[in-house]
């Protein structure tokens, strides 16, 4: 297989992983105006819960199916019990609250699972590599790429083609008007927050075989996810998707062809995009 194609595939795989994380982050920001610093924790928590489920059931698939549920429930509790109290007190307080939760989750994870590095084994059928264009490529990564693209499509249909999606979009555009025409915005917030968390947890599980599972991964994945939503445009699903692929590919090609500059290549990409489009690729210029 041509080296460039193989590297591009690597970039796409990383990109779809980023997308699963960034999609929720972006929508939550669009709806609430809050940068959710605990979003990486949802990813980490999902990975650890998935790890335990995979160990208990011996099946990767159960982990994928079940792990997002408790994480989504935790997100509902956070939103309803804690965040709501702070909606009147400005965004900084909310951001601080999510920051606090990220510490709580780190401690929780270290108490329950310890500080070790774990691995969620990929399903046996996807363990090795398959022949592709005269070369070899890991089957699990190909499957992950397929899964990520399908997930993106499903999300796009939900947001763009369903009534629930229309409500979310309305609330993102202008939440007070949306409330004025009778939309239950608080319910929308809770649902989106929980759905975003579930998506992050799902990302945590499927990333497990590649990135591993450990305390501290929350911050490591959150930073590129932030870059993705800044590049793609805050609050836009399309932006999160394109941003993820741009950053995923920039990072991979950087490592492959400009290894000395790989560390800051994604930041460079971000700066260049922001210079040309200050609101990100698909972001709307805030008029409020």
């Amino acid at each position: 297989m041509d080296l460039f194609i193989s590297q591009a595939l690597n970039g796409f795989v990383y990109g779809v992983l980023l997308f699963l994380l960034a999609a929720g982050l972006s929508l939550i920001f669009g709806l609430m105006g809050v940068v959710n610093l605990a979003h990486g924790s949802f990813f980490m928590l999902g990975a650890f819960v998935g790890l335990s489920i995979a160990k208990a059931t011996g099946s990767f698939w159960w982990a994928v199916l079940l792990a997002p549920i408790p994480v989504a429930l935790a997100a509902v509790v956070i939103e309803v019990v804690f965040m709501r109290q702070l909606y009147r007190r400005g965004r900084l307080d909310q951001v601080l609250l999510t920051f606090g939760f990220s510490f709580v989750f780190t401690d929780l994870v270290e108490t329950v699972w310890g500080k070790d590095n774990f691995n969620i084994p990929e399903p046996a059928a996807l363990e090795n590599s398959i022949e592709l264009l005269g070369g070899f490529y890991p089957s699990y990564r190909l499957a992950l790429l397929g899964f990520g693209l399908v997930a993106a499509l499903v999300l796009w249909i939900i947001i763009d083609r369903t009534r629930a999606g229309a409500m979310v979009r309305a609330a993102v555009d202008d939440s007070s008007t949306a409330m004025g025409i009778g939309l239950n915005v608080p319910l929308l917030l809770t649902t989106t927050f929980a759905a975003g968390a579930a998506l992050a947890a799902l990302a945590g599980v499927v990333a497990g075989p590649i990135l591993g599972v450990y305390s501290g991964i929350d911050v490591e994945v959150l930073i590129p996810a932030f870059i993705v939503i800044v590049v793609g445009g805050m609050g836009s699903l399309k932006g999160a998707f394109v941003g993820s692929l741009v950053i995923g590919i920039a990072d991979t090609l950087g490592k492959a062809y400009l290894p000395e500059m790989a560390m800051f290549l994604i930041y460079l990409a971000m700066i260049l995009i922001l210079l040309v489009r200050p609101a990100g690729l698909f972001g709307q210029v805030q008029t409020r």
Binding site: L3, N119, S129, K255
Partner: protein, 401 residues
């Protein structure tokens, strides 16, 4: 008074004599006062963050030794005081001052990080407290010639350069180097490169991934496309775990020979690597399946603490306490007599689980065997097996000069 007082030569001499006698009495009194008391062992290691696992395994080695010997060193009770350096030199110095100045430990064991050891060096030289390094491998540390510092573990050069020679004489024509982008990574790669190219091998590419890399896909695609016969790698902890696993996933296992520096293929990474590690080869000063009575006993003792095999950090810490114990016994338990104690440490001549250990009289680097190991599956467990031994490897020539 305007005239400054000048002591006569005689007065000066007697004064010096008196103060010397006094300090001698005082130190003698201290020896007797503390000779029966506890020996305080300061353990400065990394117990948090990602490398925290290595601090824990090192501590386990110390505990195994003390359990084996009724919690005593030279018949004196031992008090272990552990401090977490957080892998941060500044934190390490604060904790070190606490250990030496306020806890008044008799000996310091640690650290893991070479950057920590470098930061500690100046202070330890002044403090004079006996110090046994159990983890930090930076080759140049023993060039500092700190009289109270002994490295009871490997130096990067010591373990890396024999692999270069060995590979060049065992059908490895060309390699791609992949080393974690920090001091040790570069030291190891340089040491390997030197002996490997001298033996006729060719280094076709050098890759230095940043610390914290999880996904090696970009590098592995590159290695796959390069048609190299072998890869020589140095990555640590979870990075080693993932690299070897992904090496297999990218279809390189069996096509490209996997060679590495000790932590790439070691007992603490095998749980992450599983069978993907099988067939990989590395050098180290220790091998968990060494067929010697000393090692068998050590492995048995360790089995009470953990279900895994002991790794190099555990063995190094275990052997370091053994060296402290032996030296303290040699000076009749008076570990407070720093000069005599350090001299006794320098005369160490033991057979540790890893094999024979002595110290270089000039640089205080442990002189020991380097083992070429291959990963095999044995009774359902992934272990290293010795396939070749380079006996009594010392310190690097540049340090001796």
């Amino acid at each position: 008074m305007t005239k400054t007082w000048k002591p006569s030569r005689r007065a000066l001499l007697s004064g010096v004599g008196a103060s010397a006698a006094m300090s001698f009495d005082a130190s003698l009194a201290r020896v007797f006062a503390q000779g029966a008391g506890t020996i305080k062992v300061g353990v400065l290691n990394t117990f948090s963050k990602t490398p925290g696992i290595f601090g824990e395994t090192a501590l386990r080695g110390i505990e195994v030794y003390l359990d084996e010997h009724g919690g005593k060193i030279a018949d004196r009770k031992v008090e272990l005081i552990r401090e977490d350096d957080e892998f941060n030199p500044q934190v390490a110095l604060q904790k070190l001052r606490k250990l030496v100045d306020s806890d008044k430990v008799h000996v310091v064991l640690g650290p893991l990080g070479s950057h920590i050891a470098t930061a500690m060096a100046g202070y330890m030289k002044q403090a004079g407290t006996p110090w046994l390094i159990t983890g930090a491998g930076a080759s140049a540390l023993t060039k500092l010639r700190i009289p109270n510092m002994y490295r009871a573990t490997l130096s990067n050069w010591q373990v890396a350069h024999p692999m270069g020679t060995w590979s060049a004489t065992h059908d490895v024509k060309d390699v791609v180097l992949i080393g974690s982008d920090f001091l040790a990574g570069h030291e190891v790669m340089d040491a390997f490169k030197e002996t490997f190219t001298k033996g006729g091998g060719k280094v076709t590419k050098e890759i230095y991934p940043p610390i914290g890399t999880n996904d090696f896909s970009a590098y592995l695609s590159d290695i796959g496309a390069s048609k190299t016969t072998a890869v020589y790698g140095f990555l640590v902890g979870s990075e080693a775990g993932r690299f070897v696993k992904q090496f297999q996933q990218f279809g390189l296992k069996g096509k490209v020979k996997l060679l590495g520096f000790q932590p790439l293929l070691d007992s603490d990474t095998f749980p992450l690597q599983g069978t993907s590690a099988v067939g990989g080869m590395s050098t180290s000063i220790y091998c968990e399946t060494l067929d010697t009575p000393e090692n068998k006993r050590f492995v048995e003792l360790y089995a009470k603490k953990s279900k895994e095999f002991p790794g190099i950090m555990t063995e190094s810490a275990y052997t370091a306490v053994r060296i402290v114990d032996d030296a303290a016994k040699a000076v009749g338990g008076k570990i407070e007599d720093v000069a005599a104690f350090c001299e006794a440490v320098g005369k160490t001549n033991i057979v540790a689980p890893r094999g024979p250990v002595t110290f270089d009289p000039d640089t205080h680097q442990a002189i020991q065997n380097v083992y070429v190991r291959e990963v095999i599956e044995q009774d359902g467990k992934i272990v290293n097996k010795v396939i070749d031994v380079v006996p009594k490897v010392g310190d690097m020539p540049a340090n001796k000069a």
